[in-house]
Point group: C2
DNA sequence: GTCTATACAATGATAGAC
DNA sequence: GTCTATCATTGTATAGAC
């Protein structure tokens, strides 16, 4: 027997997304979100470090996935294959249950400078984690940087087009195709014209 | 005859850097900064959009420099040369007058999550502006992305080592050398091993 | 171990006077 | 352009309820 309604976190997330969606992120207060979830502001901030963080995946989780995949890549993998495994691993966080939230985020996110800042920061943190793990693995910091940038770019571009398409097919496949295109671009980048 | 002491903005910046440096960014309030500059909190927020923004270059200025250089690049330039011109242009914002501030920023910036978020956002905004201008110029969005990432990486890495070295030599030369190394890394990125 | 109540400090916005 | 004053909101801190 629970003393409280279960899944406080989930209810807060749902309430937040609905409010952000119809009255805007900035116009929604933390107190309003908590109230709609049947909780108080204090409790909201027990579950989320700040208002922005409600909408994002935990950074530790993302970094652990990206780095874990690099470290467990087969011994004979090429650098590109290692980077590919890392962004493929990142695809697994986008579970079906959050599909509705993903769809709404497309409009909510760019509507707030505060949210964009947080989103960009997460991307940068994952990129740096991947770069650093790759550098340790292949022993070349600059190549690691170039590959991490390209792989994360493929991941984000692939994610955007996957969501825009109504999530047709598997995200991992979309990202895979995107990474093929970016690795071709890497090879061509220095060609004249 | 001025009714007030001149250079309010400069005094605010100086006061902020000194306070951040010796008592920490988070432990310094906007009111304290204003007071040390002989002004009030209201005036501080007339000069700077928020507390973080005190320490950074204006985003419009950075973007205009990066994009302007791309648009004014000679017709026969290679994509790499265009990107090089863009990051060289960015070097010009680091004027001698701000040398003291740059030195202190090395420790202040990473001490605050809030500041790191803003710094990363600016980097991302400049990267995107460069990518987009390059894409328009060379007609290939993915190559533009790869080149923008590499050039901005060269710029930031070069900047960091230039500051760490006590600003020996010209920043543009340091960044130039860094970009040579990164373009070599671009060519090698896909090689096995 | 999760929630509530209350009080609090700081950011940043706003309105009106000089 | 600056000042005083007031304000809403975020986010923290504390202490207690179930």
């Amino acid at each position: 027997m629970a003393r409280w309604e279960p899944d406080a976190r989930g209810r807060l997330l749902q309430a937040a997304v609905e409010l952000f969606d119809d009255r805007g992120y900035d116009a929604t207060t933390a107190a309003q979100i908590a109230e709609r979830a049947g909780l108080t502001k204090t409790t909201l901030f027990r579950h989320f470090a700040d208002k922005r963080e409600i909408l994002f995946q935990g950074q530790d989780e993302l970094v652990a996935l990206a780095v874990g995949a690099v470290e467990s890549a087969p011994r004979q993998s090429t650098p590109l294959e290692i980077a590919r495994g890392s962004v493929r691993a990142l695809c697994s966080i986008h579970i079906e249950e959050r599909r509705d939230i993903r769809r709404r985020l497309v409009t909510i996110l760019p509507s707030s400078a505060e949210l964009m800042e947080r989103a960009v920061f997460k991307r940068s943190a994952v990129t740096e984690a991947l770069r650093s793990a790759l550098a340790a693995r292949i022993g070349d910091s600059r190549r690691a940087g170039v590959l991490a940038d390209a792989a994360i770019r493929a991941y984000y571009d692939g994610y955007a087009s996957w969501v825009a398409s109504g999530e047709r097919g598997s995200l991992a496949d979309v990202v895979d195709g995107e990474l093929d295109a970016f690795s071709a671009a890497l090879g061509d980048a220095l060609h004249t014209r």
